[in-house]
Symmetry: D2
Subunit: 261 residues, 4 copies
């Protein structure tokens, strides 16, 4: 049976819904308004154990899943939602050993998911022109131990890009149509480009500009997720849902078409 | 620049929408009703190249993405759709090196996606009680070169399960609530169980049975994908969409609760 | 041009989004935290006029539409939403001169819409067993001047129903399947029954019970409405939406089948 | 009990799903590939009766509801769907005695619904510049006996409009933004304008042009309807649904703003 080790990342989940993701450094503790959990008491237990604070609040201690990590990302900007990330991972073929380019690091939610999927043999190279955002993302990645798989580059892609040979790129900036030639120079022919845009007018401009830059086979989709109350015998959807995060757009890059090689 | 190698898997995509995924064995060819493409003419070209049949039909030759593979799965049963697979991958934390259990191989669509994500260091163990389905899935996996990452087990899980120590399991059978104790014995404490069910009554039964078997923290969701026509200046959703594939249900497994250890 | 008359119902709409529906009794006024509007100053103006409070807050004065009335219903219970009411009106063929039965008056939102549509030559007969709810609904109907078209009956339909000869009925109670025989006695053969239910398990029970009571040709639907931000050049859906109000179920009543005549 | 009269409009519904709406002229008959129903055998029966063709096909005879009529509209153009019509009726406050303007008669589906709702004391005035479409709509309206409530005008609204004093208008033409000044001249101040447009770019142009023409308080929505299979114990949505018919846009008309009076 797998046992909790010093230094492991752990999800503390209370019945009340209270959740925290913490790294279990020996001799440290988790202080809640309902008492303290000493990490030394947790280390060595099997995953899935229940533990009480000295004031009697019970937590279940779980290995955090990728979704747990994403839901706990500290955010300083609009982040990409799990419903969208799932489809993006699939569309970018984000798997072990892949090198994936990201334009617009933001708070690092998608960066986290990409880093998870490419593994230690892969790499995510993520550009942002805002230093504060990259520092923020760096902290988010470090907190969950994925920083080794990510190279953060502080640069405005409009001024050129040093990266190359990528099979997939995701772009989360307001006017991706202005960056397509620069981005194309970093891509292998046949690479997948994904983008997310909040307004349909931005989608329109991207679709208009894409062919001249060699981006073909467009797909534009919206992903919705509807959640249910889970009481047996009284099944019903939750009253409200997220109606819009962004339009997802995907292309394949044709180097020959773009005339850039 | 990356160049097409003998033995590579290639997506042939025509302007007409005609698509095929083929392995480029030397000296073989692709015969269409509009002429022949000789693989020897393709090998050595850069990915993304255009090639014509001797009757003038043009194909673009691309490395198939995971989505391309999924759309080309030969199916003998209802398959799980990319919109759902994306979220399942995320929910199961399917990444490099993971060992993932699947109950209900079916045609092997999800098996393919899981195998893609776990990489050479991971493994998918997939149970099905129907020999014909497993042979069918085996062919699908072999066609795309992922069979090494998958162990197919021909067995009715209701008769017990030999596997153990899994961190994630996906169940695609009509009455998963009857198999929960057996499945639990294959899981690490804290493991994620995912399931897909077409009717809400099945979801009800699963939610009812789950807690006694140690499956907690239920989530029930539906994922929708709406696609757009991509003509700039005339943006609009497609007229019709898939309204239902299945309800997705997820739990965390608590070994202590289940009393199974 | 049509001019505001004493006693008219008026919608006051401010730029800020503040809205009120008021009856313009002469010599009365509307007091806001930003000043007073004297009704005498409004009476005689054309509809659509702008008027200022003495503290400079501007209101547009409009004839309230049916939707305006529905959005301003005072509610003491979950009300039926406009997105659902529209389809219900169509499905019940609620038009001039119709007599329509309602089981479960609630706060009177649907009652208001039905009364609007049947006109002075029609009638809505609405049953509720809770006196407080019926008084509440009566006030809502009176406030908008539709009480003449509605007969409110304080009675538990399970104890029998005196009404008869209806072409359409709408049922908004938790267990409609228990009332089907009594309701059937109030209906013409071929009448339409509509119902709204929050959980799918309730829908299941209603579908199960309906045929024996003579209710056939079932339709079960969900209606969704997604709203957009309306800034030209930046079109996008609102971030959140109502994901669930209730399932709508419709039948045709076959007297002969029910054996009740 | 209400009994079928000579000249009544009747819906014949077979178990197989076969449906027809027919006017029961004495001495006439309904010929199907499975035998004949003589109207004289139907007249005098109670509504909801079952009747057999001489070859044993059973029909239920029902009074057609508004929805039945809409589903049986013969169409020569894209028609507006019931899911949208319900909300349009509510938004236009289409009730007894109303005069409603329609720009773009098309096949007459919405015209039919509006005529149903305004009753004998109301009127629908519907403009179309295509003579063939108006003749087609006239036949549809006459078939269901609603032609008396509709004035069809063969004219391009861009050349001016003779109508005036309307409280509501619905516009179903490709470029409504070009007609706003002319339409405004037909409206009372405060009137509701509704429109349906298939592409988001058209919506953008309408929102851009509306304020100068006096159309304010914009609302843009999409209505979705998801239908369920109705087998008790196996409840699930249908596999596919309509994903898009059109965006619905609504405004209030402010005469003073438009400067047109």
């Amino acid at each position: 049976m797998s046992v909790i080790q010093p230094g492991d990342l752990a999800l503390f989940q209370a019945e009340t819904g209270k959740r925290a993701i913490l790294r279990l450094e020996p001799d440290r503790d988790y202080q809640t308004h309902k008492g303290i959990v000493y990490y030394n008491d947790v280390i060595g237990l099997p995953w899935g154990s229940r533990i009480n604070t000295h004031l009697g609040m019970e937590f279940t201690v779980l290995q955090p899943t990728l979704r747990d990590l994403l839901l706990h990302i500290r955010r300083q900007s609009q982040i990409i939602f799990p419903k969208d990330i799932g489809y993006i991972l699939l569309r970018l073929s984000a798997g072990p050993g892949k090198r994936i380019l990201e334009i617009g690091t933001g708070s690092g939610a998608l960066t986290t998911a990409l880093a998870w999927m490419v593994g230690d043999d892969g790499q995510v190279v993520s550009y942002d022109r805002r230093e504060d955002m990259q520092e923020f993302a760096r902290k988010n990645l470090t907190r969950v131990g994925l920083q080794q798989r990510v190279k953060l580059v502080l640069r405005d892609v409009g001024e050129g890009i040093e990266a190359e040979g990528f099979e997939a790129v995701f772009v989360d900036v307001p006017a991706p149509e202005t960056l397509l030639p620069q981005i194309g120079r970093g891509l292998n022919s046949g690479a997948v480009l994904g983008a997310i845009l909040p307004t349909i007018n931005q989608v329109d401009r991207l679709l208009e500009a894409a062919p001249q830059a060699g981006f073909e086979m467009p797909e534009v989709v919206e992903i919705f997720m509807r959640s249910y109350k889970t009481t047996p015998g009284r099944l019903r959807p939750l009253d409200r849902m997220v109606a819009h995060t962004g339009y997802l757009i995907f292309f394949r890059f044709m180097a020959a078409v773009s005339g850039s090689r």
